[in-house]
């Protein structure tokens, strides 16, 4: 009786773009490469592109199965479910990182006196409400929010241009750091965040309303958003210079704070905060949703059964780290080491399994 939940190609495009934007432009990724950070970013996105092709290939081999289905299909019922469960935990962990990010940033910029537990609770509850409403609602959100976010970025870039804060000579000399450093900063760090996180779409591509895999949509969205992210990265450096951009916690906030002219436009922090809020929310919501969806398909329970436990888990987990320093340290340390396992290693295993099975099948068909 219940209609199958479906999303349109456009919705997938918007979701990929907003998901990839997330909170990325606020940080300077690849800061180690100084003014060449945008090159590192480009390498990262190129590597991510290859990874995306791999993911799309895997998906196209079994267009009706999501990640959980594939895992149980290829690695057997028990091992597959186990890996699937670990994946769900991984998604929940990623979600929790965003919750904590938001909690920390809110107390840093907006509400220094309000306890973080409250802001994080509201944040989790907001996402929970959307997931409770269902897939269709979740995928409608980017259609409203992405134009809004892009519009704000556009305003900021425009103002930066008009007020002459942009100085692209700060990006000179290009290739000051050697290729090795650049690639080293790009791999695996930038690939893991944000480009490798495309792994979540292995859970979502099956929702497409048409049969098959939205290859073109995904690739177009990915390419567009990579260009945007590389540009934003270059912009951070062009405004602040590599030294300042490299050491600040939120370089983009600093960038926007340079915009105080005419005694009228001052402290556009609010725009940044809105962008941050929306970006983090969508990212966190999608990870949360994938965790719920994964558990749903592993346990054959209705989706709504899992929404609250996973939400509670994410909320509880966001308190594990003692403070922001530990949160960042963990995020940049062990977390980055784990990511490649989920984003690259297991998809590669899957691909291998598909190849072997395909080979066997081909053999068996030739024999008979």
């Amino acid at each position: 009786m219940k209609k199958k939940e479906q999303v349109s190609g456009l919705q997938i495009v918007f979701m990929i773009m907003l998901f990839e934007i997330g909170s990325t432009p606020l940080f300077l990724l690849g800061g180690k490469a100084k003014q060449d950070s945008w090159l590192a970013m480009s390498f990262g996105s190129a590597a991510g592109f290859i990874l995306l092709l791999l993911l799309l290939w895997i998906q196209s081999r079994s267009p009706k199965q999501d990640l959980m289905g594939m895992l149980t299909f290829h690695f057997g019922r028990i091992a597959g479910s186990l890996i699937g469960g670990i994946y769900c935990l991984y998604f929940a962990y990623q979600s929790m990182r965003n919750v904590r990010d938001l909690g920390e940033l809110t107390s840093l910029t907006l509400l220094p006196l309000t306890p973080m537990s409250l802001t994080m609770l509201i944040f989790v509850l907001t996402a929970l409400y959307a997931i409770w409403k269902g897939t269709e609602v979740i995928f409608r959100l980017p259609e409203v929010l992405l134009p809004l976010v892009l519009f704000f970025y556009f305003i900021i870039i425009l103002l930066l241009g008009i007020m002459g804060s942009l100085d692209f000579t700060r990006l000179m000399p290009v290739f000051e750091s050697d290729l090795k450093t650049i690639i080293k900063t790009a791999l695996p760090d930038i690939v893991s965040f944000p480009f490798g996180q495309m792994i979540v779409f292995l859970m979502l591509w099956t929702l497409w309303e048409k049969p098959g895999v939205p290859v073109k949509n995904s690739l177009a969205a990915y390419t567009l958003i990579s260009i945007f992210l590389i540009f934003m990265n270059a912009l951070n450096v062009a405004v602040l210079g590599p030294a300042v951009a490299g050491i600040s916690q939120l370089p983009f906030l600093k960038v926007v704070r340079t915009l105080s002219h005419l005694k009228f436009i001052e402290r556009l922090d609010i725009l940044v905060t809105i962008q941050l809020f929306i970006g983090l929310l969508i990212k966190m919501m999608l990870f949360y949703f994938c965790a719920v969806k994964g558990l749903t398909s592993l346990t054959n329970k209705p989706t709504k059964w899992w929404v609250f436990p996973v939400g509670a888990l994410i909320y509880a987990a966001s308190f594990i780290e003692r403070d922001y320093t530990q949160h960042i340290a963990f995020g940049l340390g062990p977390s980055l080491k784990i990511d490649p396992i989920f984003q690259v290693a297991i998809p590669l295993l899957l691909a291998l399994s598909i190849l072997i099975r395909g080979h066997k099948k081909a053999n068996s068909t030739t024999r008979t």
Partner: protein, 536 residues
């Protein structure tokens, strides 16, 4: 099984619920019929019974019943009484009752609508609609002639939705006038008008108006189903219908439009919506409606597209101002003072220095005051209108600031909020944000900008999940159909609106030929030549 039990229990507990008795057949005796009818009606003074016999119809006994005030007495005198009472042409004295009945029905009633009735209930129903009943002795049927005619308000300019340019006539309380106004605008055989009678006691006429082939079948079926399932004793205004059939009981947002303007209804119908005209009120309904419908005014199409687009944007910003401005003021003054430019901050702080209340209390006080003023303005007799404006403007505004009760900035915020609220063309959605505004203020006072953002996102999620008769509330924005965005935030020129801008409702989406941009003749010829060259 369980449901059945519940229904039974409900029946037991609810003494009012009686099963409707089977309709009573007319008796052969005129006397008995008259007694039955007068028993049912009671001693109402406006019901007129008139008995007479006509010699030329073999002394057949007849009786007229009508309700004074619901009928046009001139029609009765001229078209009913005169032909039936005059002793004339009929020479044969021995005409049978049966034959007399059919002769009267077919030859002697110069009235447009003549109906035949066999049961007391159906006849009474017709009687209350202004029909005159003609009862015969010795026959189990009766006639009802349409003699309706009562005092009506004439067509006036709509008072709730004015325009500068555009038609100035509005619906009246009569449903029939309403449908005729639509007929005059849509001269096509595709225009369908379905009538319903809803309300056991009021028997209010409801007309469902739509264009066949444009309105979506599923939406129509849904509206019909919901209309048919209304079980109430009275429908006095279109809001009764609206509340009974609209989606989403727990939402502050309206999912149906209401309007007094026939051109707005015609426009909606042309975009595949379904109009619902209700007898007894000049406010008709349009469904399904998306969020963006409430920001479209019919005047958008009566003036140039550039100014219309500009006004659209103004309306959307007014929506956000009206919803958020007091909340933002509270949030910024209590939590995020650093966000204000220094000079502004200093002047605000100086103003607030003597104010005894915290920003939230100040804002709540002023907003509530404004709502009181507004309500007073609507309810009070017209003649004491000026008093309100003096009290409102001078006493509550200027004097309150001078007395140091509220800051001048707060008065500005509240008045701008109020004015913005009136910019939104639909009162339905303007009212819904009046309530949201208070919630926003409370949230802003406790969680600042973070709270405002969260609640906006929650509102967005809520709206994304909302549907109006199966149509997503935020379409064509979410789910997005880029083709239909031409009439949402801006209005493109009419010649460019080749498809119906509303939603993916009806089947037929193309509304006019493409390539209709007016051009000088030479250009057109050139283009045609080019096209000819291409095709050959």
């Amino acid at each position: 099984m369980k449901k059945k039990q519940q229904a039974e229990r409900k029946k037991e507990s609810d003494p009012e619920e009686k099963s409707i008795p089977a309709p009573l057949q007319l008796n052969a005796s005129l006397e008995a019929n008259l007694q039955e009818i007068s028993k049912r009606i009671g001693q109402s003074s406006d019901v007129v019974f008139r008995r007479f016999t006509n010699e030329s119809l073999s002394s057949l006994s007849l009786a007229f019943i009508y309700i004074d005030g619901l009928v046009n007495s001139e029609i009765i005198n001229r078209n009913l009484l005169q032909p039936l009472m005059e002793t004339f042409t009929l020479k044969s004295d021995s005409i049978a009752t049966e034959a007399a009945f059919s002769m009267i029905k077919d030859q002697m009633l110069p009235v447009g609508g003549v109906k035949e009735g066999q049961t007391v209930e159906s006849l009474l129903g017709l009687l209350f609609e202004g029909y005159t009943l003609i009862l015969f002795d010795g026959i189990q049927r009766a006639l009802a002639a349409d003699t309706a005619g009562w005092e009506k308000r004439s067509i006036n300019e709509p008072t709730s939705q004015g325009v500068i340019r555009g038609p100035k006539e509005g619906f009246t309380e009569s449903m029939r006038t309403g449908t005729s106004m639509l007929r005059r605008r849509l001269k096509t055989s595709d225009l369908r008008i379905e009538e319903y009678k809803i309300g056991q006691r009021t028997q209010t006429g409801i007309a469902l108006v739509y264009l066949n082939g444009l309105a979506s079948e599923s939406v129509l079926a849904e509206i019909r189903r919901r209309l048919n399932s209304i079980n109430t004793d009275s429908i006095l205004e279109s809001n009764y219908i609206e509340e009974f059939i609209q989606d989403g009981g727990l939402t502050p947002f309206p999912t149906m439009q209401n309007t007094e303007r026939p051109d707005a209804i015609a426009g909606g119908i042309l975009e595949g919506q379904v109009g619902i005209i209700i007898d007894g009120t000049p406010f008709a309904l349009l469904a399904p409606s998306t969020f963006f419908n409430f920001f479209q005014s019919s005047e958008d199409y009566y003036q140039r597209y550039d100014i219309s687009s500009f006004l659209r944007l103004i309306r959307y910003s007014a929506f956000f101002v009206s919803m958020l401005l007091p909340a933002l003021y509270i949030a910024v003054t209590t939590f995020h003072q650093e966000m204000l430019p220094t000079t502004l901050l200093i002047s605000l702080a100086a103003q607030r220095e003597g104010v005894p209340l915290p920003a939230l209390a100040e804002a709540l006080l002023m907003e509530l005051t404004f709502d009181v003023l507004r309500e007073a303005g609507v309810r009070m007799p017209r003649t004491i209108g000026p008093a309100i404006s003096i009290v409102g403007a001078l006493v509550l505004g200027q004097a309150a600031v001078q007395a140091g009760l509220v800051s001048a900035a707060m008065v500005i915020v509240v008045s701008f909020t109020a004015i913005s609220n009136f910019v939104i063309p639909s009162l339905a959605i303007a009212n819904s944000i009046r309530l949201i505004r208070f919630a926003m203020m409370l949230i802003a006072a406790s969680l600042g900008l973070f709270g405002i953002m969260s609640s906006l996102i929650v509102l967005l999620i809520h709206m994304a999940g909302l549907r109006s008769f199966g149509v997503p509330y935020l379409s064509p924005m979410a789910p997005m159909t880029p083709r239909y965005l031409k009439d949402i935030f801006i209005r493109v020129p009419l010649w460019d609106m080749t498809t119906r801008p509303m939603t993916n409702l009806g089947k037929e989406t193309r509304r006019q030929a493409s390539n209709q941009k007016p051009k000088p003749q030479e250009d057109q010829q050139q283009q045609q030549n080019q096209q000819g060259g291409n095709s050959s």
